[in-house]
Subunit: 499 residues, 2 copies
Amino acid sequence: MDNVKQIEKDFRELLTEQNAYREAITLIHWDMRTKIPKKGVEQRSEVVGFLSEKLHQIETSDKMKYFIDILKDNTEDEILKKTIEDCEETYERNRKIPHNEFREYVMLQSKSESVWQEARENNDFSLFSPYLEKLVEFNKRFAGYWGYENNIYDALLHNYEPGVTTETLDRVFPDLRKSLTSLLERIKQSTSKPDPGILTGFFPKADQEAFSLAVLQEMGYDFTSGRLDETIHPFAIALNQNDVRVTTRFDEEDFRMAVFGTIHEGGHALYEQNISPQLAGTPLSTGTSMGIHESQSLFWENFVARKEAFWERHYDTFLKYAPEQFHKMPLNQFYRAVNEVKPSLIRIEADELTYSLHIMIRYELEKALINGEITVDELPGLWNEKMKEYLGVEPPTDREGVLQDIHWSSGDFGYFPSYALGYMYAAQFHNTLKKEINFDDHLLNGRFNEVREWLTRNIHQHGKMKKPLQIIEEVTGEKLNPDHLVTYLTSKYSKIYDF
Amino acid sequence: MDNVKQIEKDFRELLTEQNAYREAITLIHWDMRTKIPKKGVEQRSEVVGFLSEKLHQIETSDKMKYFIDILKDNTEDEILKKTIEDCEETYERNRKIPHNEFREYVMLQSKSESVWQEARENNDFSLFSPYLEKLVEFNKRFAGYWGYENNIYDALLHNYEPGVTTETLDRVFPDLRKSLTSLLERIKQSTSKPDPGILTGFFPKADQEAFSLAVLQEMGYDFTSGRLDETIHPFAIALNQNDVRVTTRFDEEDFRMAVFGTIHEGGHALYEQNISPQLAGTPLSTGTSMGIHESQSLFWENFVARKEAFWERHYDTFLKYAPEQFHKMPLNQFYRAVNEVKPSLIRIEADELTYSLHIMIRYELEKALINGEITVDELPGLWNEKMKEYLGVEPPTDREGVLQDIHWSSGDFGYFPSYALGYMYAAQFHNTLKKEINFDDHLLNGRFNEVREWLTRNIHQHGKMKKPLQIIEEVTGEKLNPDHLVTYLTSKYSKIYDF
């Protein structure tokens, strides 16, 4: 027993080392995406490579294995038990890949990303396809090493959404698609359409920033544990529990980019800022999955900041910063405009309704790729066909089509479904939360604190102590159910589009 | 021979590791001084502690010793030879200190800094004095471990200004003091005094920043290898040769803080940006000493940016950003005002002439402390006496006296002289440079590039390949000579103060 206590102590020391590397690497990533001068990048990449290798060495070390083997059945500390589970999974998954294959893959990833950028710039898929083929091959091989029950793609999905399988997705996605496309049809046929044109026009960056900061503050984002910076691709990043940063992008012709972007990233940040301090320093001190993380950002972006009640409360504040043109605009016209639905070519510009359709296309294609049912060369054509079928629009070139996302170039197969899961999770949480607290009333009165506390109590605090589907079931009392998203969207858009 | 080549290769790999830790630590320091949210500091300190320990382990490793022993006499690569010398010195100096004493000292340092802050806030030297006593004790002991020829203080001085000894300082400082105080006397008696009051008044931060950036640009600071940020205590920092950052502080009531501060730090940054790329990745890729570094910042701050010719060239640019009040101000009135001399209590607010007097006081006191000639308790009284004697002003409390500087609280004994050496070095470089290029003419025409190139050719590029006094002698053809500073100041102030 005394011996176990000592081993636990030694194990915690190893976690501290692991954590130090992770935190240093994360700071470098934040800096590389926000501040680093152009010429500093090359040398900094070497540094991050070195530190990542060190981290990888610890994760797969014999020392780690020793702690796992002993503490797995002997520790009585619940947090340590889960920590050991997490470390074991990382250890096993990493050890299953031969070291030389892993190195080769890391080099391929970094090369592929820059080739993809070039291919996108030149609108030439053929530049990228040989790399994509290799990436697919590696991922198939890794999936084989990791193992799976029914579908090889499940082994990859597991990296981003443990517990969710193709079986689940193939159950919910087709129904969801049917509902979304029929809703989209009614919206298209509506004669009462919002006019998003009224939202564009010069809106100085400083004023957008001031309003974004005011909303972040009200959401309960803790500025003594975070900060907002400018970047090209907005993100939220947790360096540690008390340093969770948000970035945003300003478009002086369209305030929506910065305002909704900041709120979205703020939702991610609230998750990381409110994980239980008891988990600090363990690998459990982060969001439990990409999908649950996305549910938090989408909750704030859509279920809060695109709601009528939110704007009833905040329109005056908004007008304090907004340029002239908004001052004569009735609230309802503004509210409808920020909720326009319009099928578009680019995923990251998609609205709440069509977004999930973009995801399904990617899911179907990458699943087929990994299962060897289609080839890389067939991708651009299939992409365009599906866009036409699901969204009714067709990319004029691959740049607006198959080349638009970075994910595949980084080898991130299995990642995309998390985005659509995030929408469904958020809607399901929203449905439960509405029954437990007077949500609209809280929004009208700016009592975001109680909303944030509900999310913290039910989701944030647990970090990786609970798996995604476990959280869904415990919080909402049912399994993943896409109906909540459909009901929510139907009710929302029938009012906006008057059908 | 082939064997040596292989060992050189392995050694370079160790240098790469060492460098990766150093770069990660430096980024954390930059972030902690500019961006980190308050609550993130505690955990980040742990991370920096861990990484510093790793770096220290490499520097003092048996592996390092192995490379030193073999390559010292066998490498034919000049850069490697110097690198080995540098690594050997670091190895020897660190190994001479018993590990437990070093750990104890590091903890004392970090504790002392916060106690000093508290003492300064409460204006209570007695809080700080027990810590200062311990710091002095440790430094005496370390100096003993390191060894010295004549004066124990030389062993500490060596950390900041290798090659310079108390013998040198005791030769140059008294003469310099005599000259400076007599010059100060004449200035005091002058009836034609500049009026610095005309310089203060509201000057928006954004405009100060725009002008500072314009000057940095013209100095040849490379913004693709650097950036300017805001901070409380301005500094320049080299993460790598292609990422050398500058920070500044804005006082909207007094533009001098930001403008001269940025130029000063820009001078440090130019040094680090222009070290030969051949030295990249070795410990030689940095300024050769604190004094030479300071000579570069002071050169740009005083010998460029406080010169008449500089303002003749830049006054129009300045007026583009400056508020109304400056638009009716004759250039000469402005020039004289930015060159006011006035004995003051605070070192970092001192002018070009009195600054070195502040340094001499600190030097004399810390040398006496380390030599056991005075006690810590006597410090405040002696400080005030010397202030009165050298500068004619007396601190009303210790906050404006002995408690003003952070250096002693970090155990940095032997550091202060570098500042005064920097002034003397800069004046000596200036004297040589004037003979070789048409300096005033270059300033008048904004041809800073040729000035910067002269400094790069003679100083910057060498990094630590040359020792400070070696550079002085090679560049100026003579030993350290304080007369150049005196001549320069006399000529400058006799014009400004009309004597």
